[in-house]
């Protein structure tokens, strides 16, 4: 892919430029219609009745009291699902509405539609639901003991007898993290009058939603047009269905449009979260600081339904060590079925939790060996020619592990907190005015992350795109979902540089117009949608040149040497030149019984350094600065890359010191923004970022998808810095004040 020539490096808005987003202007003027802003003539409002126990026998549901209320049009239960009554992306094990047993707190039991949201909410409340409480399964070790397992990933590699002299072991915990996209779940279903419907709902992959919706609604896939959606963020939480099936049921029943919007509390139970995890690690090294043996048991809390947990646990297991060589690896990863809230995809997709544990282990090992923690990492860093320590896959292409470590170490440290600086906004206690300046302790910590790009383990992963060249320029059609990450900009830049034409527009098509682009996840759309667009544009360019025997194309038209053969309008006088592509990445293998094989397409690494100030008396932490060196393959849009890095770091830092879904026997105790704390701009650290460019053969112009890494290793770096400041072991993320104050463990 990197071989494609840039026709005219001077094309405006091509790769390498910090081109602004095409949707930035409507977004800053408030004229960009998000899902919750949609409106259809004659629409009614839906609302959901939910269960209030994490596990119970569903004794009775009676919707009569709702139906007798003025302004209420429908009240539906699981008995009203027109088609298959269970949904799920990989395994259809999630009831559309509760059936027989309630398996998680907030599980939907019934849905209603009414003239306005307030009436709908009261009608939902009026539905009689009888529950018979059952004991919820919420502990991970207990789930394992009971065999409540979605998937066990077993990895064995190397000499079973290899042992190291220096041993560190511990158990680590990461809490459940909420993706907390700022836009809550919202959607609109509009019947088409022919038995089918158009559906706008929160999604990262319209075609996989279509498959599930058609089955559950008893329609053919052609009758369900899943529309491209305008999302207020995703971060993985829109990979699984939330309100779509409910909207479809109500709209089909009523023959009129139905809209639904979750409020924030409902949103907390309405989307998947990052798996909480318990991880037991044993690292062994020789005296020279070479990793000899790593054993890990990874327990991931999947909640009651499989969703993407079986793929998440694969990532946890394959990236259990980070980017290091090791002679012997034994990993057992388990995705467990519990009655906690459903978990699924979130930025990093299972690679974050082991990164937290394994990087802490590396620091412990360095301490035991008397080595600098970065030196230990450098001695074990993998790169091209090495094999991944877990799966044994040969790293054939650029993977600059040592470079990112050296680059981040070379970034100058921020100034010490000035002795006179008592502006509370720069102290851990903030404007709470709790921290005396002279009690502040500074700490520095490092962490390195490794992750795969695109779908793995033999999945048939593809993306379609169509490029049309008209007198106005080029238009790229795709079903890929723009979640705010900026793919819309990248695709246009790739096509501009390929064609030589500046006027390029990206058109997001519904499922009836174009084939799947695959999911906007797994860091895949830069390479997948990007390569599909690149291949289609390459063919369009070739055809345009062949039509007139030209040798280059630009905004003016087709040229041969210095002679303009025809302007664009003339070139396409007989109709647009277009080409449709289904791009597949190189095939990957399925794992063998030991988790071995070339399971992945491409990899990405990043290294973080965190600097924190801690108030050791109150256990408060302020993250002063995070430096990062990030593998990007090639920087297609530096401004967007920095935006992804800073945004990713905020989420990783949030999970290090503040973000936790507090679970109490399966019940979420902090399902609001009052109680679930997100970083504000007073919490956001300064970010110093270095982009490491070593082109990948698998991305357009050498680019890699990169936006998961900034989140991944930020969490362990921040906690490492707090460890350095406090001397505490801190085996849990997020670090709570009570972990920092009080007796040393």
């Amino acid at each position: 892919m990197s071989e494609v020539l840039v026709q005219r490096p001077t094309v405006r808005g091509g790769v390498g430029e910090s081109v602004p987003r095409p949707d930035a202007v409507p977004k800053v003027t408030g004229r960009f219609d998000f899902l919750g802003d949609l409106h259809a003539e004659g629409m009614v409002w839906g609302a959901t009745r939910r269960a209030w126990l994490p596990r119970a026998r569903l004794v009775r549901v009676d919707v009569t009291p709702a139906l007798t209320m003025r302004g209420v049009h429908a009240a539906l239960t699981q008995d009203d699902v027109p088609g298959h009554r269970y949904q799920g992306q990989k395994v259809t094990d999630q009831p559309v509405l509760a059936e027989g047993e309630v398996r998680t707190w907030g599980e939907p039991v019934a849905v209603v539609a009414a003239d306005d949201p307030e009436t709908a909410r009261r009608a939902a409340d009026a539905i009689i639901v009888e529950l018979d409480e059952l004991e919820p399964l919420t502990d991970l070790d207990e789930a394992l003991a009971r065999g409540s397992v979605f998937r066990h990933v077993r990895v064995r590699r190397g000499d079973p007898d290899a042992r190291g002299e220096v041993v560190v072991e511990d158990t680590y915990t990461t809490a459940t993290q909420d993706p907390a996209a700022l836009g809550t779940e919202a959607g609109l279903a509009v019947p088409d009058g022919l038995g089918g419907l158009d559906l706008w709902g929160p999604t990262q992959w319209t075609h996989v939603d279509r498959t599930q919706l058609a089955a559950c609604l008893g329609l053919s896939p052609e009758q369900v047009r899943v529309q491209p959606c305008r999302l207020g963020g995703a971060f993985g939480s829109r990979e699984d269905l939330s309100l779509q099936t409910h909207l479809g049921m109500l709209a089909l029943r009523l023959g009129r449009p139905v809209k639904m919007v979750y409020d924030r509390t409902e949103s907390f139970v309405g989307h998947v979260k990052r798996h909480g995890a318990r991880m037991r690690y044993r690292h062994e090294a020789d005296r020279a600081g070479r990793l000899v043996r790593v054993e890990a048991q990874l327990l991931l809390d999947g909640g009651p339904y499989e969703l993407t947990s079986s793929a998440v646990v694969a990532n946890s297991s394959y990236f259990a060590l980070g980017p290091y060589r090791c002679q012997r690896v034994e990993v057992d990863g388990y995705a467990l079925r519990t009655n906690n809230p459903p978990s699924g995809a979130m930025r990093g997709f299972g690679a974050n939790q082991p990164c937290f544990a394994a990087e802490a282990q590396m620091d412990r090992l360095a301490e035991a060996l008397g080595l600098d923690p970065l030196e230990l990492r450098l001695r074990n860093a993998i790169g091209p020619g090495d094999h991944l320590a877990t799966t044994g896959q040969l790293i054939e292409h650029p993977l600059p592990t040592a470079e990112v470590i050296r680059s981040v170490a070379a970034i100058p440290l921020p100034d010490a907190l000035a002795p006179a600086d008592d502006d509370p906004r720069r102290l851990p206690g903030g404007t709470g005015l709790t921290t005396p300046r002279d009690r502040v302790v500074r700490g520095v910590g490092y962490a390195v992350g490794l992750k795969n790009l695109q779908f793995s383990e033999g999945f048939d992963d593809y993306a379609e795109a169509r490029v049309e060249l008209t007198a106005e320029g080029a238009r790229v059609h795709t079903a890929a979902i723009e979640v705010g990450q900026g793919m819309v900009t990248i695709i246009a830049q790739v096509v501009r540089s390929t064609l030589g034409v500046s006027q390029v527009e990206v058109a997001f098509d519904h499922t009836g117009r174009i084939g799947s682009a695959g999911s906007t996840s797994a860091s895949r759309q830069t390479q997948m949608a990007g390569n599909a667009a690149l291949e289609a544009a390459t063919v369009v360019r070739t055809q345009a040149l062949e039509r007139l025997g030209g040798d280059h194309l630009d905004d003016a038209g087709v040229w041969r040497g210095e002679q303009l053969l025809a302007p664009l309008a003339e070139l396409v006088a007989d109709g647009p030149i277009e080409h449709h592509v289904r791009y597949r990445h190189r095939p990957t293998q399925q794992p063998d019984a030991d988790g071995q094989g070339a399971l992945h397409v491409d990899f990405c690494v990043a290294a973080h350094r965190a600097v924190v100030d801690v108030d050791p008396d109150l256990g408060l932490v302020r993250v002063v600065e995070i430096a990062i060196a990030q593998d990007v393959g090639r920087a297609l849009n530096p401004q967007q890359l920095h935006g992804q890095i800073e945004g990713g770091i905020a989420q990783g830092m949030g999970h290090a010191i503040m973000e936790e879904v507090v679970l109490d026997a399966g019940v979420i105790r902090n399902a609001s923004f009052t109680d679930y704390l997100l970083p504000t701009c007073l919490d956001a650290p300064e970010v110093e970022a270095v982009l490491v460019e070593q082109p990948s053969p698998w991305g357009p112009f050498g680019a890699k998808g990169m936006a998961e890494l900034p989140t991944m290793s930020a969490t362990p770096a921040v906690v490492a810095a707090v460890r350095a400041a406090t001397g505490r072991a801190l085996t849990r993320a997020p670090v709570r004040p009570e972990d920092v104050v009080g007796d040393l463990r």
Binding site: F34, G232, G643, G648
Partner: protein
């Protein structure tokens, strides 16, 4: 009841129920969906509008209490002709401060107000002023750069 108010310079009247918020009336009665609804609890600032010149969370204001008030939403900030951007809006575009954009309308309103009331605010002051506006995508770096850009343009080029 009928509530009359001035929104983005236009006199408006809306039939509202006693429990309805200003945000609901703006979005559902007046069709101004620029202000967003990420929490409805006063925690996120996505619903920020100017009420008689002060930044408020429209989700926390009862529509009935806005009787007679002057309201400015993100849609009315630039004034002037269609397509014209307020200095802060242009700075957000140029600095790459917009990702998903859900926080953007509220942040633009808050930042424009800050620029007008405290044009020389330093970094810590800007952060504090915007700390009621959550953004999940950007990590705030580009937003702070956008505000700094707008501040320097405002001092160079006169009032925003």
């Amino acid at each position: 009841m009928i509530v009359t108010l001035e929104v983005n310079g236009e006199p408006c009247a809306a039939e509202v129920a006693g429990f309805e918020s200003l945000l609901w009336v703006l979005r559902e009665r007046l069709g101004l969906t620029g202000a967003k609804d990420a929490c409805l609890q006063g925690e996120c600032g996505s619903c920020s509008v100017l009420l008689d010149g002060e930044v408020v969370c429209a989700c926390l204001v009862l529509a009935a209490d806005a009787e007679g008030a002057r309201v400015t939403t993100v849609e009315g900030l630039a004034g002037g002709s269609e397509g014209e951007l307020h200095l802060v809006q242009q700075a957000f575009v140029d600095a790459g401060a917009v990702q998903c954009g859900f926080c953007t309308p509220g942040l633009i309103v808050a930042a424009a107000h800050l620029l007008e009331t405290r044009p020389g605010a330093g970094d810590a002051e800007v952060r504090e002023a915007l700390s009621g506006n959550l953004c999940r995508c950007t990590g705030y770096g580009a937003i702070l750069r956008a505000v700094a850009r707008a501040q320097s343009q405002a001092t160079q080029g006169g009032a925003p």
